[in-house]
Each structure stands twice: as C-alpha cells, then as structure tokens.
C-alpha cells in the first residue's frame, strides 16, 4: 500500500507520485470521477494500475492517499 501524493500538473492532468519509488506518472484514467463518487481503479501513463478507496466527493488536490497496487 504505497502512499501516493496526487497533484495537478499545469496542463490539468493529475500526477501520481510515490516518493519511495521515485515514481512520477500521469493518471490516464480514473474509474469514478464525478461530484458524488471518486476513486476506484486508476491507470497510469506507464500502464501500471492502482486502486483508491472510493470517496463520496472529489478530494481537494494536492493530497496524499493510500493506494493499492493491482
């Protein structure tokens, strides 16, 4: 369960950053991204997939979250 820091890049894309792994990738797709549901499976720019617990509302970015590796 790496702790992941999410931040917005200047072009509006979400960046997925894991300090311990030096991993900084863009998020290509997010399973749920609507005002009442956020999270689920994410696919990164390099093709790897992670899972965020589903939240009731989109969180305020930047934020550190726990992600599960799929």
């Amino acid at each position: 369960m790496p702790s992941v820091m999410l931040r917005k890049r200047e072009d509006g894309k979400l960046l997925f950053y894991v300090a311990k792994k030096d991993l900084e990738e863009t998020i290509e797709s997010l399973e749920f991204d609507s005002p009442d549901k956020w999270g689920g499976e994410v696919v990164l720019g390099d093709g790897s997939r992670y899972y965020f617990d589903i939240l009731d509302a989109p969180p305020k970015i930047p934020l550190t979250l726990q992600a599960k590796r799929l």
Binding site: E24, D46, P62
Partner: protein, 493 residues
C-alpha cells in the same frame, strides 16, 4: 572530433564495459545510456538511485553529507552538531563555500565545527549524556544561537541512542528549537536519502512552528527561494533579479538562510525550486499542507534566466510580468557583451559533466549560450525524475552515465576527448594530469557566483580561462615532444 552517432556511442559503452566481470557488466550496463530525445520517460533507458557495486570507485557521499553538508549546514544562525566521532564534521567543515552574512562564532556558525567527539567509552555506554552536556555548553558559550540541530553520524544509529528524547528534554529546558536528524551515513545508497531525511526533519520539527500566527505581514508578491545554497554567493545573485522584478523574497533555503525564514516560508505565495533533487520533498509537502504552488526554475545562462523569469512572472499579475521584461531588458546589453567577448573563444568546444543535484542539466543552457556543446552528462545521486528532466535538455546520441565509476569516466574522457570536463574535486587532478582542462563544478572551483546575469559573466570568464589556458600546451615534458627546435638551447650563465 565531430559529434558521435548512436552506433559509435553504443560501441564506446560496450568497449568500456568489456573489462568488468560478467555480473558487474550487466549491472553497470543499466546505468550507461545513449540519450534519445524522443523518450518521455528515463526509466526506458537508464537505471538510477541504486546501490553502487562493491569494488568500483564511486564518487557518491553519504546520508550525513546530504543532511548536514547540504540541507542543514547553510542555515547560519543554528548550530549543527555533528553527533558522533570527530572526523565526519571536521573533514567536511566549510568545504562547500556557502557564503553568509554575520559574525562567525557570535550570531552565525556556518563555518564552525561542533561535534560530540565520540570515543570508545561513548560507544559502549551510550552518548546521550554527552549530547545533553554539549547542548548545555553551547547555550553558555554561544547564547545567540537560534536553534540546534543534531546530525547523527553512523554510530548513533548503530548503538541506538535516543537523540529525540534528549532534544525534546533540552527544547523544554532552553526554549529553543532543537532538531534531532536521523541522517546516519549508512542509510540509503547516497547522499540523496540524507536530503530526504533532512527535509522530513524540517517538516516535522520546524516548519509548523508559526502555524496560526499571523503577525508576519505578508504581501501578494511573497516568494521563497528553495534549494539555493549560496555557493560563492549564488543565492544573492538570484535574489537581486527576483527583487528587481518586484517580488519579495521571504526566505532563502538554505544558503545564507535563518531558522526564522524557514518558519515564515508557509506564508509565501509561491515556492521557487532551484535544486529539485534536494528540496522537492518539502515543496511537495507545502503544496499539500499550505496549498503553496511550486515551480522549478533555472538561473544559469541568459536564455534560461529569461525563460525562468517569465515563467515565474506568469504566476503573478501584470506588474510582475512587466517587471520580468524590465529586468531582462536591463541586463540585455550586459550579457550580450559577455557573449560577444567569450563566444568566439569558446565556440564549438565540447564539455563533459558529472556532478550532483541540479547541475548536470541546469548548466547545459549556459554552455549553449556560449556556443559550447555538452556531449555527456551524469548524476552522482540523481533519481529517475532527474533523468526525465535531462533527456530533453541533452542532444541526441550523447552519453548519459549514472553513478559513473572512476574507471568508466576516465575511459569516456579518453575516447570522447572533450575540451572541458566539469566534475568534482576527486576527479579534478586525474583529468588535469591527463592534460584535459577541468573545472570543479561542485563549488565553482573556488570562484562564483554562477547564478543570474552577474554570475553568467563570471561563468564565461572561468570557462575561457580554463579552456584557453596556455598551460595545456605544456603538459608533455619538453624532452618527450617530437618537434624539438633545431637550434640547441643556449646556456645561460
């Protein structure tokens, strides 16, 4: 020698790797790469931030060097205790030339060495009592210090001393910030982890000290310069440009910096990161906790400076944007004169770099402004994100080498034959004896500053006086030169 093609570079790498035993060859091959600008991600071509192989000559430092030497050391009004045996502190004392203003030994302590001087007794019975006594002594002898940091050396972690408990106890007694830093040298693979540990210590023990205290008057133009260590006065040369364009620099991290500046940093509007490698952790933390955006900038060479000033200005209103243009215009004639003077002497010269932190990619622009070409670059302790940022800066088919060994670097230089090598003091004399012009780029070879427009003039002068120095023609002993003059030398009485 013309630029090398991909195949030639590949062949060169293979040739250099030949000498290693098979297992090491396989490992080292991952750290040597040919630059390919079409790649977006460096992990496709190069591996970095891995343990160095036993037996090779690595140029890396340790976690203590990263924390005490780089991040904490330059904070001038704190006393940094090298907690452990005397050598680590003494042999690294004042070597980095982080300039500062103040009276050393009275209100600033940058070039001094404070150590608990561990002996066998302390290893056997523990050194916490000694540390407590040391802190008390510091309070008596140097009452104007604004805080103390305890920088652990290897034995502290090995014997399991509780420096946190001592620090908390003494903070209560003396009412000053006392920060325990767990930067034992054996942690991690290089000084890079020391930077991270130091950043985390600042985050946990210093940064939140003034949360909820609004007595510090702020302006909409407050910025902090982060990751500029004021080597030879670099931070001052950067600061003047930012102030000239109308920004207010609240804090310098950490060259010529104070603990008060660090505590005030969460009140700024924008964090400016120069050394990404050593300070990105704290910038990311401040972005998350205090919603302060951060950007990287580059103050080497007029092209990159103008680019950076405009980028910084884009975060502010029109007055700052005008200010940026005004600053660029003001220095235009100055830097054009520098280029006009030195470019004809340096045009077409080829440079190989091997440094740490930000310079392997940041100085490329400055060399290009002088018409020079960087044909190889590498990081001592860079991570993947550093190489991501380097790929676009370097030309195609140039060499990239991560944690290069002494042997590889020498061989590369012999084969590529650059006109200048820029690296650290450990490599300096090897290359000078080989007859290759060399600049020590860790602390600007006792020169500087190199940042900003003022620094660029000094940078250009230094490169010229190194490359075009007449001494390089006299490297070979006179009786070994083939073209001896026909006329025998006249004896002088």
């Amino acid at each position: 020698m013309a630029a090398m093609t991909r195949e030639e570079t590949e062949a060169l790498i293979q040739e250099v790797l030949e000498i290693y035993p098979e297992k090491s060859r396989k490992d080292r091959a991952k750290h040597l790469a040919i630059n390919d600008q079409s790649l977006e991600k460096s992990n496709k071509c190069i591996t970095s931030n891995r343990k160095s192989l036993p037996g090779v000559m690595t140029i890396r430092g340790c976690a203590y060097a990263g924390s005490k030497g780089v991040v904490w050391g330059p904070i001038k009004d704190m006393i940094h205790i090298s907690h452990g045996p005397v050598g680590c502190g003494q042999y690294s004392r004042a070597g980095r030339r982080n300039y500062y203003v103040g009276t050393t030994g009275v209100n600033t302590f940058g070039t001094m060495n404070f150590t608990s001087d561990f002996t066998e007794k302390d290893i056997v019975f523990g050194g916490d009592k000694k540390l407590a006594k040391l802190i008390d002594e510091i309070e008596v002898l140097f009452p104007l210090n604004k805080g103390i940091s305890v920088q652990s050396e290897c034995p502290i972690g090995l014997i399991g001393d509780d420096i946190e408990a001592v620090s908390k106890q003494k903070t209560k007694e003396h009412g000053k910030t006392i920060v325990p830093v767990r930067c034992e040298g054996f942690r991690g693979v290089s000084q890079s982890l020391g930077h991270h540990i130091a950043n985390d210590a600042i985050r946990d023990w210093v940064l939140d000290k003034r949360d909820g205290d609004d007595s510090f008057p702020t302006t909409p133009y407050d910025v902090a310069v982060i990751g500029d260590y004021n080597i030879g006065g670099d931070a001052w040369a950067s600061r003047t440009l930012l102030e000239e364009m109308g920004l207010r620099v609240v804090a310098q991290w950490s060259g010529d910096g104070t603990i008060a500046e660090i505590e005030n940093t969460p009140k700024v509007k924008l964090n400016l990161i120069h050394c990404y490698r050593s300070m990105n952790y704290i910038a990311r933390h401040m972005e998350e906790k205090y919603s302060i955006p951060w950007i990287e900038y580059n103050f080497f060479g007029p092209t990159k400076i103008a680019e950076s000033l405009r980028r910084i200005a884009s975060y502010f209103d029109e007055t700052i944007k005008e200010g940026a243009e005004r600053v660029i215009a003001r220095y235009e004639s100055e830097y054009n004169a520098v280029i006009a003077k030195y470019k004809p002497r340096l045009e077409g010269k080829r440079v190989m770099l091997y440094i740490g932190g930000l310079r392997p990619r940041h100085v490329i622009g400055a060399y290009e402004d002088l018409g020079m070409e960087v044909v190889g670059t590498g990081y001592e302790f860079g991570h993947n994100d550093d190489y991501d940022r380097t790929i676009k800066e370097m030309g195609n088919a140039t060499l990239l080498y991560d944690d290069v060994t002494g042997y590889e670097f020498e061989e590369f230089v012999k084969k590529v034959q650059p006109d200048l090598v820029g690296s650290g003091v450990k490599e300096k004399y090897i290359f000078q004896k080989m007859g290759v012009p060399f600049r020590q780029m860790h602390s600007w070879d006792y020169s500087g500053p190199y940042h900003g427009y003022d620094g660029f003039a000094i940078f250009a002068r230094d490169m010229d006086m190194t490359i075009n120095n007449p001494c390089w023609k006299n490297i070979k002993a006179p009786w070994k030169t083939e073209t001896t003059s026909a006329e025998p030398e006249k004896a002088v009485a």
